[in-house]
């Protein structure tokens, strides 16, 4: 079970308190109507799913309730950083 540092609670908390919420830093086009079909499909469905470091979202659902961003190595499961939404990926 992972230990995930919550940047709001400022604590390492067990994975069971969190819910995974997919890849981070996906930008919803500011004017979706202007996006062509390919760009929109890309936004909806295409994910990087890297072997290595991924930026992903978790929600501390059984804690502070906040969505957070986490950098995790998908091979080793090592967590390199966690930060608040809106903050730049370290």
């Amino acid at each position: 079970m992972l230990l995930i540092p919550c940047p709001f609670c400022a604590m390492d908390r067990p994975e069971a308190e969190f819910r995974h919420a997919g890849e981070a830093h996906l930008t919803r086009p500011p004017d979706p109507a202007a996006a062509d079909d390919a760009a929109w499909a890309d936004f909806l469905y295409h994910r990087a799913n890297p072997r290595g470091v991924i930026a992903e979202r978790w929600r501390h659902v059984h804690g502070c309730g906040r969505f957070i961003n986490v950098l995790r190595d998908t091979v080793s499961d090592r967590i390199l950083a966690s930060y608040r939404p809106g903050e730049k990926r370290p």
Partner: protein, 1005 residues
């Protein structure tokens, strides 16, 4: 003696018939002294119905061997007789069921790990009708028909599957398999613990104890766990060496006493570290009561520990490898190290006349100790060309014959056990039978890197010794002792002490064992077993490679080698070596297999813990549950909720009750508990903007005091949820969700609020539990309510889709004019604590109005007659609002899902659309989920045009009705189609999905 097997009848006679003049005979193979068992306590136990005596401190395996019993089971595939091979967790053959009565039956236990207690009842497995006369052994005659890949090939493809189900599975189930699960519920309790510590040491052998001592002395909070009843590991069978000047066993006792005296150290025997998980989490299974003759009812049977350790020290030892030669699976053939352990720890001689075959120096320790105990060690066959290390020299000096460069060519079984072995020399082809009652083998040792690898540590191939050793470990994990390649006591203690920065104990009197590679005869054929538990032979491995299975993971799956409950602890390295030899590549090129938890099997009870029965999943009841019970409701499970499904009166079945509830509600009034609806209060200056962006419908334009139906889409444009938005004030909404979607909708809202539009000033609160909802529906609904309401609820004052805070029966309530029945409808939201009082006030007025209470089944019929959808019934995650005939709210800008609705696929004319279906036979109710086609007898492979989503008998129409999703459905109104069912094809007419009051006049009265 050359050329023919021999036997000695004397020994056989000694080994049968335990009873002598009604008294149990003493153990024939127990030494007079030595070992750690309590010889003065006779423990009576039974195995396969025969009674035996054992000693305190015995395992079932040591006690059986003390009684001369080697045959303990039949093999899985060929039903070959099998004996005890090992002394610990790696045992592949000796799987037994321990029966304690009343659901307390545990199958597939390793006899080597079952502690003896007074009255223990154990049974062998995988034999029928009995261990000695096993009809399944006839299967062995069919061995050529059961080659490697039999299961694999049989189950591939549709024809194979059919054959499997009809012919092979029943046969194989009868003949093979591993024990039987008990048929009654497990009466025991299982506990769950969480713990944190600075250092967790897995394995209390010399290395682990040295590590725990060093950690404990340094003040670290330490847990030392060991799978055995008694901590000590190899120290328990060490009689020669001195540690820091005192005998090893004395050093062990002193060390354990010191650890016990440290308040910050916890020593946990009978506790297996079965899994290493990310971020230094270790799973422990602690067996609390299985070894007790009379367990206390106050104690759980087992405990599951989840330990988060700053440092994990793995001291899990090494596992001895068998040799692969023809007949290496006979009862009486066992590991040399195990035989030595049985002698020194339990005072048991595994045979009277033994031959030892080895490719490793350590077997000479067994030779020396057995000879000292008076066992005739007839010969040590060393498979290596030369055997000149200190241990072989010591054996020769003690008068033990050593044959270097020898081979084991076969074994002979007489009765229940080995009686001779065929030995040869590698160089001259001479061969000779030796009589013996035990053949001890050693093919080197495999470091137990399981936990290291589970923690995602790397493995490194050590070619000289032919082993995988821990490479780069996961952070915070280290391996010490034999699992890290230590080959003697001094090295193990040194690594243990060093892990905690402690002083290294000094060892004297140990003859070093020189490590060497494992011996593999690439051409060995016949009954030369690689995996005992799954009956995999060397031939099978070569066949797998010949058929193109090259990676070791594929060889494993094809042969089933290493896939037994022992996970190939003894056999995997031999399997790897044989596969590598067959391919002609070095072992590391085949890769290693993945090490997965659990290290040894963990009972389901331990994993489930208290989460069973009522504790498996929470049960949610509404504040009106007691009222529904009093009304005689039949309940159904809706997610975690218990909901009243219908309220049968005397003599009514469900259909009759539902017809009455529907008809009475349409004719007069009905009272329905809708409390399970999800409710979210959305508050803030930007609440309206927020909801407008999340729902298909125009929420921003909704006036305070009014309600609007809302449909929520996923960003992909599919219907996700629906509900009613009630605007209480310019900055305050009461939003309802579906019963099952409540949590998901709130999470979805939070996601957009927190991450997409953090600038919006809006706050969300779940109020599902706060409000009970009493729906009063029907033409007389207002008559029922009005006298109880402090205020005007006339159609003019409170029209359809209006909301007001009003007192009802003196209770502050949020009253909404909404309807899910198509009738004049009120949903009275009352604080949950007042709900029973409100029910009690309404119930007699419902009765007086000629109305009824109704349940979810009637609710479904009422809404289906009106064509109202249920998300999750008419929708399945692929349905757009357009498919359901719903339009985007007027004047709306962007909202979640809107852009996706413009994708080409979402606009296709042949999308499945919501329609009504009327079957030709008005009495026939279609099956929900049934497919719709154009022909009455569609040929196989015909693509369906759609499917039935809801289907009921409609009391209002006096006939059956159905809702369906149908390709291009709205254009098909009036068409005749077919629903093929098992009993024949049903003709149906496509209709509009609203069957009753399409103008909605009944809503507005």
């Amino acid at each position: 003696m050359i050329g023919s097997p021999r036997h000695e009848g004397m020994m056989q006679r000694l080994l049968v018939g335990r009873m002598f003049q009604g008294r149990l005979l003493p153990e024939s193979m127990r030494t007079a002294d030595g070992g750690r068992v309590e010889r003065r306590t006779d423990i009576r136990f039974s195995f396969d119905g025969a009674d035996y005596l054992g000693c305190g401190g015995d395992t079932l395996a040591s006690a059986l061997l003390a009684n001369g019993v080697h045959l303990v089971g039949r093999s899985m595939k060929y039903h070959r007789p099998r004996g005890i091979v090992a002394a610990g967790a790696e045992e592949p053959n000796a799987l037994v069921a321990v029966v304690r009565g009343g659901g307390r039956t545990t199958p597939n236990l390793r006899a080597t790990q079952v502690e003896l207690f007074e009255g223990l009842e154990a049974h062998s497995q995988n034999r029928w009708p009995s261990l000695n006369t096993d009809l399944g052994a006839l299967v062995a005659l069919a061995a050529p028909l059961l080659p490697a890949g039999f299961y694999y090939k049989t189950m591939m493809g549709p024809r194979g599957l059919g054959l499997w189900h009809r012919v092979f599975e029943p046969l194989v189930r009868r003949a093979a398999g591993l024990g039987r699960a008990p048929r009654v519920a497990d009466p025991d309790r299982y506990a769950r613990y969480y713990a944190h510590c600075d250092v967790l040491v897995a394995g209390a052998g010399p290395a682990g104890i040295a590590a725990a001592l060093a950690a404990g002395r340094g003040g670290a909070r330490t847990i030392l766990c060991d799978e055995q009843a008694e901590p000590g590991g190899a120290l328990l069978s060490e009689i020669a060496a001195l540690i820091d000047g005192i005998p090893a066993r004395e050093w062990l006792a002193q060390s354990l006493a010191e650890l016990a005296a440290m308040p910050h150290v916890r020593v946990m025997p009978r506790t297996t570290a079965f899994g290493c998980y990310p971020h230094n989490m270790v799973g422990l299974a602690e067996r609390v009561t299985d070894h007790l003759a009379a367990p206390s009812p106050d104690q759980p049977r087992e405990r599951l520990w989840r330990v988060r350790a700053r440092r994990i020290v793995l001291a899990t030892g090494a596992i001895e490898r068998p040799l692969v030669f023809p007949g290496n699976d006979r009862p009486g053939v066992m590991l040399a190290g195990a035989a030595r352990e049985y002698l020194l720890r339990w005072g048991v001689k595994v045979g009277s006349r033994v031959v030892i075959a080895t490719a490793c120096d350590t077997a000479y320790r067994a030779a020396l100790d057995l000879a000292t105990a008076g066992v005739a060690v007839k010969l040590v066959v060393d498979l290596r060309a030369a055997a000149d290390g200190p241990l072989p020299q010591a054996a020769r000096a003690a008068g033990i014959a050593v044959l270097a460069g020898g081979r084991v060519l076969g074994t002979h079984l007489r009765g229940k056990r080995l009686d001779s072995v065929l030995l040869g020399r590698g160089d001259d082809g001479r061969r000779r039978w030796f009589d013996c009652d035990a053949l001890l083998m050693c093919n080197g040792w495999t470091p137990a890197v399981h936990l290291h690898a589970q923690a995602r540590g790397a493995l490194r191939w050590e070619g000289e010794r032919g082993v995988f050793l821990p490479g780069e470990p996961a952070p915070g994990v280290e391996s010490i002792g034999a699992c890290n390649g230590a080959t003697d006591l001094a090295m193990a203690l040194a690594q243990g002490a060093a892990s905690g920065g402690g002083a290294v104990p000094v060892v004297e009197g140990e003859v070093p064992a020189l490590p060497g590679p494992a011996h593999v005869d690439a051409a060995v054929a016949g009954d030369a077993f690689v995996d005992f538990q799954n009956d995999v032979r060397a031939d099978d491995v070569r066949q797998a490679v010949a058929e193109g299975f090259h990676a070791i993971e594929h060889v494993k799956r094809y042969t089933a080698g290493g896939l037994g409950t022992d996970q190939g602890k003894t056999g995997n390295m031999n399997l790897l070596a044989l596969a590598a030899a067959a391919r002609g590549t070095p072992i590391p090129e085949l890769g290693t297999t993945t090490f997965r938890p659990p290290y040894t099997p963990v009972s389901f009870g331990t994993l489930a813990g208290p989460a069973r029965g009522e504790m498996f999943d929470p049960v949610r009841t509404t504040p009106l549950h007691a009222q529904a019970v009093a009304e005689g409701a039949v309940f159904e499970d809706v997610g975690q909720w218990k909901r009243a499904r219908y309220f049968p009166q005397a003599g009514e079945d469900m259909h009759a009750a539902v017809r009455r509830e529907v008809a009475t509600t349409r004719a007069a009034a009905g009272l329905f508990d809708a409390s399970t609806l999800g409710k979210i209060e959305v508050v803030g200056p930007d609440a309206a903007i927020f909801l407008d962006r999340l729902y298909l419908n125009a929420i921003a334009t909704l006036k305070p005091g009014r309600c609007r139906y809302g449909v929520m889409l996923s960003e992909a444009g599919f219907v996700m949820d629906d509900g009613v938005m009630a605007r209480l004030a310019p900055d305050r909404f009461h939003v309802t969700t579906t019963t099952s979607g409540a949590a998901h909708v709130l999470a979805h809202m939070e996601d957009y609020r927190q991450t997409e539009w953090p600038e919006l000033r809006v706050w969300l609160t779940s109020t599902t539990e706060h409000w009970a909802v009493l729906a009063v529906q029907g033409p007389r609904a207002r008559d029922v309510l009005a006298p109880l309401v402090a205020g005007d609820i006339s159609a003019a004052a409170l029209p359809h889709m209006a909301v007001r805070d009003l007192k009802v029966a003196g209770i502050p309530a949020r009253m909404m004019r909404v309807s899910f029945s198509g009738e004049q409808g009120f949903e009275v939201n009352a604080p949950a604590r007042h709900a029973p009082a409100l029910w009690d006030a309404l119930r007699p007025r419902i009765a007086a109005a000629g109305g009824t209470v109704y349940g979810t089944e009637a609710m479904h019929v009422l809404r289906a007659e009106k064509g109202y959808i249920i998300v999750g019934q008419e929708t399945d995650g692929t349905v757009t609002p357009g498919d359901l005939g719903m339009a985007i709210g007027r004047g709306k800008g962007d909202f979640i899902g809107r852009r996706s609705l413009a994708r080409p696929d979402m606009l296709a004319a042949d999308r499945r659309q919501l329609v009504g279906l009327l079957s030709d036979d008005p009495a026939l109710v279609l099956e929900e989920g049934a497919q719709i086609v154009a022909q009455s007898a569609p040929p196989p492979g015909t693509k369906a045009l759609g499917h039935v989503t809801s289907s009921y008998f409609s009391p209002a129409l006096g006939r059956s009705i159905a809702l369906a999703l149908l390709a291009g459905g709205r254009e098909r109104t009036g068409e005749r189609l077919f629903v093929p069912l098992a009993r024949g094809s049903i003709g149906v007419a496509v209709a509009a999905p609203v069957f009753l009051d399409p103008q909605g006049g009944r809503l507005h009265v």
